[in-house]
Amino acid sequence: MTDVTNAQTFENEPQLGDYYALMKPRVMQLVVFTAVVGMLAAPVGVNPVVGFASILFLAIGAGASGALNMWWDADIDAVMKRTAKRPIPAGKITGQSAMHLGVALSGLSVMMLSLSANLLAGFMLAFTIFFYVVPYSMWLKRSTPQNIVIGGAAGAFPPVIGWIIATGEIAVLEPWLMFALIFMWTPPHFWALALFMRNDYDDAKVPMLTVTHGRRATRNHILGYTVLLVILAVGTAFTAIGGWIYLATALVLNAMFLKGAYDIWQRDEEICETDNFAVERKFFRLSLWYLFALFVAIFLEAALKPFGMGGW
């Protein structure tokens, strides 16, 4: 081996930050946030140590599924501009290492969550990891334009798991309302991204709706899903996890979200080219705030209940 190749090998030595990036930290943040809200919105209190440990193990499980997703999708990540700098395509971590880490952390997180919270929470985490890796990453993502719709379920499970950590119960309406909020939010969020990151998905041959059914159909779908989401989000205000704070937040946010979806629906490609997809980008940014604010409102309703203010 020459000095030059030695230097290149050392340059690509993985650091702790590379392993952290492999676990999709942004997705982990969303998982932790929605799971904490799900846990705190439950009518049963959780010991802080048990709650902290359980959420940590849930986050590790989410990170493990991220690593497995990056292992499987390394070929398309290398093609897409948005993902080309991820640790595997960047040559920092080998696909095999990512797979080993993902499998090991999946097993560890499921086992530890089962012990710290309950078996049902552990089972749900195992199912979520499986759903994200096998049906979504390995099958749907490359075979159907509905990939985002069905795969979105994987991202919607954390508040349900948070609820189960607190209560050990699954057959109640409220956690599934939080699940439905994320599930219905995911398609318009990702389709807006696909509208302005269009070349990425084309190049990687990922059958996003924009590629298979065209951009007009994608705009129609964004509006359709947003209408359903608005009904669901406002309707949630009148359930046990809702209240005045949630209702006011939902009314304002959903009016803005619906307006954004309507604006996207009205536009054509020529107008978009002139302003570099400004409306689509704005809608995408709004979608991030939308979900965050709705879950903060659910959290506030739960947090204020002991003081006689939250809820109805």
Partner: protein, 64 residues
């Protein structure tokens, strides 16, 4: 003069090893705190299969 000159890669590997070590240490600490929390909780119940050995001896019969 040191027998093995320090290369930049050694420093980088050291920081990775320290990071992994800290994480493993934190994990052990977390398990300890979690175990302590669980067994001191009012809801904690000793599994039936192990309860006999804790509370006292179960009569096994005999002549005395």
């Amino acid at each position: 003069m040191a027998l093995r000159p320090e290369h930049e890669i050694h420093g980088r590997r050291k920081s990775l090893n320290i990071g992994v070590g800290l994480m493993l240490g934190s994990f052990v600490l977390l398990i300890m705190v979690l175990t302590f929390t669980k067994i001191t909780s009012p809801e904690f119940q000793i599994p039936a299969s192990q309860a006999n050995g804790v509370g006292g001896q179960t009569p096994t019969g005999g002549t005395d």
